[in-house]
Symmetry: C2
Subunit: 199 residues, 2 copies
C-alpha cells in the first residue's frame, strides 16, 4: 500500500466531503483534485464508502492533535477550554464563508441509511468530542453544583455547537452563532453561581 497516495486521497476526500458533502462529491472530483487515477484509488479502497470510513477514522484518530491541541493552546481554565473549542468552529465558519461547519455533524445528517461501520464511526467521533468536554467539566467539578451530570452537560454543549452552526450557516450570519453561545454562557454562569450558594 503506497501510503503517500493513500494519504493524498484521504485528505482530498476529507476536504471535499467537508465542503460539498458525501453524496455530492464524486469519485471523479476526488481523482482530479488529488491527481490520482481511478485504478490507484480502487487499489487502495474497495469503494466510495470505504473512503468515507478512512476519513472518519482520520477524524477519530486525530481529535487530539488536529482539534483539541490547537483550540486549547494557551488555555488553562477548563471552562474557558470549552468556549475556546466552540470558538474554533466560529472561526471556521468565518474563514470559509460559512462553508465549514462540523464535518461529523454534516455527515451525520446527510447519510440517512448508513452502513453500520459508518454509523458507529460517526457515533465514536461524537463520543470523543463529548468526552473531551466532559473532562473539562470534571476538572471544574468543584465550581459546579453538587451532583451536576457532566456527561449530559457535555452532550448539551455538543448539541448547541451543532445547532448553532446549522443556524448560522443557513442565515449566513455569525451573530446567530454568537447569540447561541451567549445563552450557553449564561447557563454556565447560572450553574457557577448556584454552586456558590450556601443552599
Amino acid at each position: 500500500m503506497n501510503s503517500d497516495t493513500r494519504q493524498r486521497i484521504v485528505m482530498t476526500a476529507l476536504e471535499m466531503f467537508y465542503v460539498k458533502g458525501y453524496n455530492s462529491t464524486s469519485i471523479a472530483d476526488i481523482l482530479s483534485r488529488s491527481q490520482v487515477h481511478s485504478g490507484s484509488l480502487y487499489h487502495c479502497f474497495p469503494g466510495k464508502q470505504d473512503l468515507l470510513v478512512a476519513v472518519l477514522e482520520f477524524y477519530r484518530d486525530g481529535i487530539e492533535d488536529n482539534l483539541l491541541s490547537i483550540a486549547w493552546a494557551d488555555q488553562t481554565d477548563p471552562i474557558e477550554k470549552i468556549f475556546a473549542l466552540l470558538n474554533g468552529y466560529r472561526i471556521g465558519l468565518l474563514m470559509s464563508d460559512f462553508q465549514h461547519g462540523c464535518p461529523i455533524g454534516n455527515l451525520a445528517l446527510e447519510i440517512s441509511e448508513p452502513d453500520p461501520r459508518i454509523r458507529e464511526l460517526l457515533d465514536v467521533n461524537f463520543a470523543n468530542w463529548i468526552d473531551a468536554v466532559e473532562r473539562c467539566l470534571n476538572s471544574a467539578n468543584e465550581r459546579l453544583p453538587a451532583g451536576t451530570d457532566t456527561h449530559a452537560l457535555a452532550e448539551f454543549i455538543l448539541t448547541i455547537m451543532e445547532g448553532a452552526i446549522m443556524q448560522a450557516r443557513t442565515a449566513r450570519d455569525i451573530a446567530v452563532f454568537d447569540r447561541n453561545i451567549t445563552v450557553l454562557r449564561q447557563h454556565i454562569n447560572l450553574l457557577l453561581e448556584k454552586a456558590k450558594e450556601p443552599s
Copy 2:
C-alpha cells in the same frame, strides 16, 4: 395547472426528501411513488430544484396547521407549549425508527451551495419556528427574569432541538434526546427561579 397532480408530486417529494434527503432522492423515485409520469412532473415544475422550493413553501405555509396546532392541542401554558413542540419531534424519531428528524434541518446541512431561493426558504422556515417559540416566551414574560432576550432564547431552543435530534439519530438512542431536553428544562427552571428572586 392540475393541482391534484401537483399536490401529489409535492407531498411525495416532501416525504422522500424527509426520509432519504434531497440528493439521494431521484426524480424516478418520486415518479414511481406518486404514480405520475415524467412529462406531467416537468409540466408542473421546471426542474428538481423547483420541487424543493415547492416543498419548502409547503412547510412555510403549513407551520400553523401541520405543526403547531397539532403539538399544542390541549396545551395552555406557554412554557409547556415549547416542550410539547419538542416532544413532537421526539415522537417522530421514535415512530420512524430515527428516520424522521427535522426536515428543514436535514436540508439545511445537506444543501451546501443552495440556490438563493432555497437558502431563503430554509431561513424563513427556521425564522417561523423561532417566532412561534418566541411568542410562547413573550407570553410567559412575567415569569422570566427582567430583560430576558426572548429571541435569543427561542433561537437557543431551536438549536437544542436540532442538535438533540442529530445526536439521537446518530446514536439511534432516544435517551440522548431526553438528556438534552432535561438540561434545557433545568436552564428554564433556573430562569424561572431567578425571576422570583427579589434581586
